[in-house]
């Protein structure tokens, strides 16, 4: 665990870091239904607060510039790239990570992923699943075009795309039938 409270906050020591790391702020974060007090710089990306401070390592680092989607979480139910989201902008919002998507790990998207053996290396899949779950919240019966639009920002180097498409359709069916667990 990191305690930033004792760290120096002299901007003069941080030449070249105009916005970064001007010292720690205490913030309240609501993650997966639990409140956490964190003491981190306001512009530290949410991704690293989740991973390094709260120990929630299910959310992945892939690119650090919102190019790959491995870090996708929900902010008030909507998909967000946590690698470029300053933690200060997540405070006061409902944050959901892959660990909190479903208490039993049996969200329709997770069940569909398992049914169709989508995963390969698995590194991108928390992000894929969070993006798919957010899509289904907005569009319960998505077309292929809807899926392309919602998930093309999530890269997979193992090439699971075809099964992802099929699994999103299956998840929509499971959700429609109310088969949550």
């Amino acid at each position: 665990m990191i305690d930033w409270r004792g760290c120096p906050a002299d901007p003069g020591k941080l030449a070249g870091q105009s916005r970064a790391n001007r010292g720690a702020d205490v913030m309240k974060l609501q993650v997966n239904g639990k409140e956490h007090d964190v003491s981190v710089p306001a512009d530290m990306p949410l991704l690293w607060v989740l991973r390094d401070v709260l120990g929630l390592t299910g959310t992945k680092y892939g690119c650090g510039m919102a190019q790959c989607g491995a870090c996708t979480v929900h902010l008030d139910g909507r998909a967000q790239r946590s690698c470029v989201l300053p933690v200060s902008r997540a405070a006061g919002h409902r944050i959901t990570t892959i660990e909190g998507l479903d208490p039993q790990g049996a969200h329709p998207v997770q069940r569909a992923w398992t049914d169709l053996d989508v995963v390969q290396c698995g590194y991108c899949q928390p992000g894929q699943i969070m993006a798919a779950a957010a899509l289904l919240e907005e569009v319960p019966k998505p077309s292929d075009a809807d899926i392309d639009a919602a998930l093309s920002g999530n890269l997979c180097r193992c090439g699971t795309y075809q099964r992802i498409r099929a699994a999103v359709h299956r998840a929509a069916d499971l959700a429609a039938k109310g088969e949550r667990s």
Partner: protein
């Protein structure tokens, strides 16, 4: 082929010398792998059930994986092999990565490693024997307890049964463990298989859909620090001086430490380390890469490819036959350096204590990394505990004979006395080297009056992966087999009486490594594109032309025919669409792919791919299908986008915005047809990659009349 003279004994001797204590070389050229596999096969491996199988009192069966799970599905397929013989309850099967230990060495390569699309076939007999031995020990334990003859008992679905009596495996495990291991356990008749050959759900889904799967990147140790390393922007460059002052002033930065690969900023978290490294000031001596450009290097390769080089394959008199040919075709093909770009950037965590060292990482090469860590930590290899985590993709990058990403972590753990995780950013990973080499190929062929090829020459220019590595002694007479695999043994040249394949291996400070399908990643593009050119020059259909060159009963021809038939080759396609095809053998398997493409505003769109594969006996058909889809996507990313280039000696690309890979909206529909053949078992991790680039390029030619001879494929 020039490889034929190298015996297995010679190989073991040379690689033992070259590897400095390592038992064996890692990168066997594909042809050699098959050669050794055939030689190695007859000796039945000694069953070692205790190394692979743990049975708990609650009947849970834990299989220890000798190979690393990097997406290819070994955490399901290897347990399937054991469970089939063990007769356990499949629903009770779990898995763990094995520790580093010689008992888990590759049966052909003699080192613990994952690569070369070998995991299933190299361990198949060994794991079957382990499962069968354990089954016989459980039966013997039950028979002893019941005081009945062993022959009256049988095992089924996790029980040993005698008449009406039954005992659970969990009840028998402790007693069974104390019994002698049978030397030659009886294997099941394949007709009685209940698990092997059936589509089977992955065992790693549950942890991977819930975020619980632990990758190297996710390792957390008490008191752990995180380090980012500033490495030279020029390969081979050196630190002239550095000023740690500003980096150390960043909150959370603990230390700044110079290590052989650069200057490390060690901090309490990734974010602090990153800010610290941004603030770090380093002056570099660029070394020999200063001023290097891809354009100039390509010009040099283009000159070399016109000259004679060491001969990789030769028969008859090419020059004479080519001179007399009725029609001559000549072309130059070029493919760039490529990064592996796994989703999980490289990382390793290490801890060094007096007399011991422990590492946590996703690696494809436990034996090599263990030896490298031991040398740095000043301990014996067996004092290094290797914890293999899930790999967020490997594709060859995580099997580095130089153990680059592991070494840095051990240096820093030793220097700080604390556990240190070294994380590569995406930019570090893209710019950090160990690329698929850049290749230039010149091919010439002569056709007779009937359009039949009578002369063929192929000259290849590109860096050797083995040169300068611990396995350099594998290069024989100037030929690194990994540079010419798929070209020196191209199927078409067998029927061409006068042919010649030559290789130039220029040196460069740019580090190169195997990249999914290794040499085949360039040779398949060249050979299958050029054969397509010859078909058009002969005025023949590309499938018919290939069929005429391949023996009627050959595996390649059967696979080609299957892909063509399933695709509907020759049938009309939608307006603006065209088809291309390619067939290629690699890693003991033959794959043919037919692609349907269109061009939209100069952009190539791949709509549909039909893939036929003959990999011999199939363990998990669902896994084979996934690996074909995976290989196609990986190959398409390279065919359409992949390119690492240099300017002023530095890599120009950095992240997914300028090193793009295929996205979901570009995914073609892929149909996979798996032969149920009795050929020798081959691999599936890599063979799906080589054919897709030529299949797409051939389709683009059919559509536009433009022959694209460079990757990535560009129409504008």
């Amino acid at each position: 082929m020039s490889a034929a003279g190298l015996s297995r004994r010679t190989f073991l001797a040379t690689s033992a010398a070259a590897g400095g204590g390592l038992l064996i070389g890692l990168s066997l050229p594909d042809g050699l792998k098959r050669l050794f596999a055939q030689e190695a096969a007859p000796a039945a491996p000694r069953p070692v059930p205790n190394a692979f199988i743990r049975i708990a009192p609650d009947d849970t069966v834990t299989i220890l994986l000798k190979h690393s799970e990097m997406g290819q599905g070994v955490s399901t397929s290897l347990p399937m092999v054991i469970a089939e013989e063990l007769e356990c309850d499949w629903s009770k099967v779990r898995f763990e990565h094995a520790p580093a230990n010689i008992v888990y060495a590759h049966t052909v390569f003699r080192a613990q490693m994952t690569g070369g699309s070998t995991s299933t076939w190299e361990s198949f007999d060994q794991l079957r024997a382990a499962g069968a031995a354990a089954r016989e020990m459980l039966i013997a334990a039950a028979a002893k307890q019941w005081e009945v003859p062993v022959g009256e008992c049988r095992a089924e679905n996790g029980f040993v049964i005698h008449g009406e009596r039954r005992l659970r495996f969990g009840e028998l495990a402790a007693a069974a463990e104390k019994l002698p291991v049978p030397a030659a356990p009886k294997l099941k008749d394949p007709k009685d298989w209940k698990i092997l050959g059936r589509p089977t759900h992955r065992l790693d889904s549950a942890v991977k859909v819930t975020g619980k799967a632990e990758f190297g990147m996710d390792v957390r140790r008490p008191g752990m620090l995180t380090a980012l390393v500033a490495r030279s922007p020029w390969f081979g460059g050196k630190v002239k001086r550095f000023d740690a002052g500003k980096a150390k002033a960043v909150p959370g930065v603990v230390d700044v430490i110079q290590i052989p690969s650069g200057v490390a900023v060690v901090a309490e978290s990734f974010w602090s380390a990153r800010l610290g490294r941004n603030a770090l000031e380093v002056d570099w001596d660029p070394g020999s890469m200063a001023g290097h450009s891809t354009a100039a290097q390509l010009e040099d390769f283009r000159k070399r490819v016109q000259t004679d080089g060491p001969v990789a394959a030769s028969k008859g008199d090419f020059a004479a036959a080519f001179g007399k040919a009725a029609k001559k075709v000549e072309a130059v093909y070029e493919v760039p350096y490529l990064a592996h770009a796994m989703m999980e950037p490289l990382n390793c965590t290490a801890e060094v204590k007096a007399g011991s060292c422990e590492i946590w990482t996703g690696t494809q090469f436990q034996t090599g990394d263990q030896a490298a860590a031991a040398k740095i930590a000043g301990v014996k290899p067996e004092q290094v505990k290797v914890n293999t985590l899930f790999l967020g993709g490997g594709f060859g990058r995580r099997a580095n004979p130089r153990s680059d990403f592991v070494s840095e972590a051990v240096h820093l753990a030793k220097a700080t006395g604390r556990p240190v995780k070294v994380v590569w950013t995406r930019e570090d990973d893209t710019r950090g080297g160990y690329y698929r080499p850049m290749w230039v190929s010149r091919v010439r062929a002569g056709l007779d009056g009937d359009g039949k090829p009578v002369a063929w020459a192929h000259t290849i220019v590109g860096q050797s992966i083995l040169a300068g590595s611990p396995f350099a002694s594998m290069i024989k007479n100037g030929i690194d087999e990994t540079s010419v695999e798929g070209a020196a043994d191209a199927p078409y040249i067998e029927s061409i009486p006068d042919h010649r394949v030559e290789l130039h291996s220029p040196e460069s400070p740019i580090p190169v490594l195997w990249w999914r399908s290794v040499g085949h990643s360039h040779t398949a593009f060249v050979v299958e594109s050029f054969v397509d050119e010859l078909a058009h020059a002969a005025g023949k259909d590309p499938v018919d032309f290939r069929r005429e060159l391949l023996p009627p009963d050959s595996r390649r021809r059967r696979v080609l025919d299957k892909a063509a038939e399933a695709f509907g080759w020759g049938k009309p396609l939608p307006a603006g669409h065209a088809a291309g095809i390619a067939v290629h053998e690699s890693f003991g398997s033959v794959v043919a792919q037919a692609a349907e493409v269109s061009v939209d505003n100069g952009r190539i769109r791949v709509h549909r791919v039909v893939c036929a594969v003959d990999c011999g006996p199939v363990v998990n058909p669902d896994g084979v299908e996934a690996q074909m889809q995976s290989g196609i996507v990986y190959g398409l990313s390279a065919a359409l986008y992949g390119e690492i280039t240099f300017r002023d000696g530095q890599v120009e690309q950095s992240n997914y915005h300028d090193y793009p890979v295929l996205r979901l909206n570009e995914m073609p529909h892929v149909a996979v047809h798996i032969a149920n053949s009795d050929e020798k078992m081959g691999g599936v991790g890599e063979p799906g990659t080589p054919p897709i680039a030529p299949a797409v390029a051939n389709a683009v030619f059919a559509l536009t009349g433009k022959r694209l001879r460079q990757l990535p494929l560009r129409l504008t």
